[in-house]
């Protein structure tokens, strides 16, 4: 009797899986943590490029050393925030807890106010970073910065 019930449960599960698979096989969603891990790598790459760009702009005289230090300060904030986000992604917390923590990390980082203090040339570098951060916030349902 117990064995029959077990077999019946397995059969029901297979039927449910098969019917759902038929409906969802065309557009499978990317698991949230895979999407977030990919976005974190994209942000890390954007920060690396930004760091090299600002040094080049300083070295060729386009921006001042003070402005270089300002932009580097924001890149450091973003890099450390990215590391905090990574720690969340591999933590044992459930997804709603991780999402809330990730939103808090980025909305308190102060990157949005930073741009107003920079020249247009340096501001463009920060734009690329803010763009990726906004993709991250959109993925977790947070507000754009």
């Amino acid at each position: 009797m117990k064995l029959q019930r077990s077999k019946l449960s397995a059969l029901v599960l297979v039927l449910i899986m098969t019917s759902c698979a038929a409906k969802n096989s065309t557009t499978p969603s990317t698991p949230a943590n895979v999407q977030m891990a990919s976005l974190s790598k994209a942000l890390a790459d954007a920060l690396s490029t930004a760091s090299k760009s600002v040094i080049t702009l300083r070295d060729n005289g386009t921006i001042s050393q003070k402005e270089t230090l300002d932009v580097q300060g924001y890149i450091l904030v973003a890099a450390n925030s990215g590391k905090q986000m990574d720690a969340q992604l591999v933590s044992a917390s459930d997804w709603p807890t991780q999402k809330a923590a990730i939103i808090k990390i980025w909305t308190t980082a102060g990157l949005s106010t930073a741009k107003s203090q920079l020249s247009p040339t340096a501001g463009v570098i920060l734009d690329t970073i803010i763009n990726v951060v906004n993709q991250i916030l959109a993925a977790v349902g947070g507000p754009a910065i």
């Binding site: 759902c20 790598k41 890390a44 690396s48 997804w95």
Partner: protein, 73 residues
């Protein structure tokens, strides 16, 4: 539900932070990453995050080195 299915769902709950997975979520995972075991799936997520962390660390080191080299006396 047979023990293998229960074990699979438990493993997926570890692999995917999102609490209890729906059957649809499990199907999506296996369609998106066919042939991957839950352990392999988790390993991929961790590998991407580890690479991101290494890039963050390299950028931080680059900036600190540049700032040290351009410190005004």
């Amino acid at each position: 539900m047979n023990p293998a299915t229960i074990a699979l769902i438990q493993l997926l709950n570890v692999a995917v932070p999102g609490g209890i997975l729906l059957v649809k979520d499990i199907i999506d995972l296996f369609h998106k990453y066919p042939g991957l075991t839950p352990d392999q799936f988790l390993a991929i997520v961790k590998e991407v995050v580890t690479k991101a962390d290494a890039t963050y660390d390299a950028t931080i080191a680059e900036i600190l080195a540049d700032q040290a080299a351009h410190k005004t006396p």
